[in-house]
Assembly symmetry: C2
Homo-oligomer: 245 residues x 2
């Protein structure tokens, strides 16, 4: 059974309210990094794995992409995407990303924003992605940083009695697998993998590493969300770009 927290009504409401503020880790840390490594989208075909409400799909079209296929496991997300980011060049499909089968259809760019840490079988997914890419095609994705997902306990910032963050607690790094946490609702499941697993799996599937980013906040974020200074102390995300040869 694949996890679908975004169709939990409590989670979906909280999550969409958060994203609408425009003052999030996504806006100031993850999305700027992801966009910074996007190649020219001119006339490119794009597959968006975990497309959510379709904002990135629309961004691709606005930047010249000829076609975007967006996949998401959540009916709520896909409905919202069709409502808010509809376009004749975008197709949205409600489906778990690991179930995707493409009959010889290939893409120039495969992108995935903060979805792959929800996927149990990373190796199988990467094998498919490699197969779905045209030659010289690029796979660009963001995930939660293994430094952040490693520890099984939940409270990773250790604080003094005044609430100041002393340091980030790291543990269980080599124990890959399920990490369960409370994020609006109980039982949100993510999968921790080591950095070497994340990278070697790409290489083993015929992809060449092009760039890795451990992003910090853009300046606007530091002004509007001062806690983003903590990204200097430990990275929340990792952005990777790899290409097929």
């Amino acid at each position: 059974m694949k996890q679908n927290i975004y169709d939990n009504p409590v989670f979906f409401k909280e999550y969409t309210n958060l994203r609408k503020t425009g003052v999030t880790y996504n806006d100031f840390v993850e999305q700027p990094a992801l966009k910074s490594v996007m190649p020219s989208l001119d006339n490119k075909t794009v597959l968006d794995l975990g497309c959510g409400t379709g904002q990135f799909a629309m961004y691709c079209i606005q930047n010249g992409a000829s076609k975007v296929l967006g996949l998401d496991i959540s009916r709520n997300m896909i409905d919202q995407a069709i409502k808010e980011n509809n376009h004749e060049k975008i197709e949205y499909i409600c489906m778990p990303i690991e179930d995707l089968e493409l009959n010889n259809l290939k893409f120039d760019i495969i992108v995935s924003s903060l979805a792959i840490h929800y996927i149990k079988d990373y190796s199988n997914l990467v094998a498919k992605i490699s197969q779905f890419l045209n030659r010289d095609g690029e796979f660009i994705f963001s995930i939660e940083h293994p430094i952040v997902t490693a520890r099984k306990d939940m409270n990773n910032w250790v604080k003094d009695h005044e609430g100041n963050r002393l340091y980030w607690a790291l543990d269980h790094y080599q124990e890959e697998g399920i990490r369960e946490q409370h994020w609006y609702i109980d039982g949100v499941i993510k999968y921790h993998r080591t950095i070497s697993t994340i990278i070697n799996t790409l290489i083993d599937n015929g992809l060449v590493l092009g760039k890795m980013i451990e992003p910090q906040s853009i300046t606007e974020g530091l002004e509007k969300m001062p806690k983003l200074h903590n990204e200097e102390r430990r990275p929340s995300f990792m952005v990777i770009k790899a290409y097929k040869v």
Copy 2:
């Protein structure tokens, strides 16, 4: 002034005594990982940056290498290497590794065991290494893991009042630069760099990432040094293999 702790008599004595025990992190964690990614050495030329007492240089010759050039900043180390691991196919030179100039001489394999975190200008070193490699040549090196070098404070394992290790304290990850610590003597200087800097610098200098290892202990190590179980909790080292195209 390049750091040369190994010519400090106190450090050198303590360090060589430690290595002679054969019961160290090197023996059970770092060296097995480094050797696991070595290609066939048959008839290959090898440059060993930070060769120490020449054990790895001799290992290369014993495994078929046609020639090894070993460099080390420490006179003590080079003298010991000439005494203990002398061979007609090995040349030892006492020189800071970042000062090396080679007049069009190139190597099939460049190896470096736990030396590069002492080097201030990583980018310049990698540019040289890329230039010193034959086409399809491989650069294989181990360094202290950025998870370990990140925090400026010294006591990274946070312990309870009975001395049990609770978790590893991480901080200052994005602040690259000097980390000073006490290791037998005061003022041992290492350089912290992020994982993305380490990897992107290789890529920017024309190298392709072939494999990354965040090694754990081999079984024998867990028996002889039970504290090596802590490597499951956070990695001490990173081993990287990259090749020139």
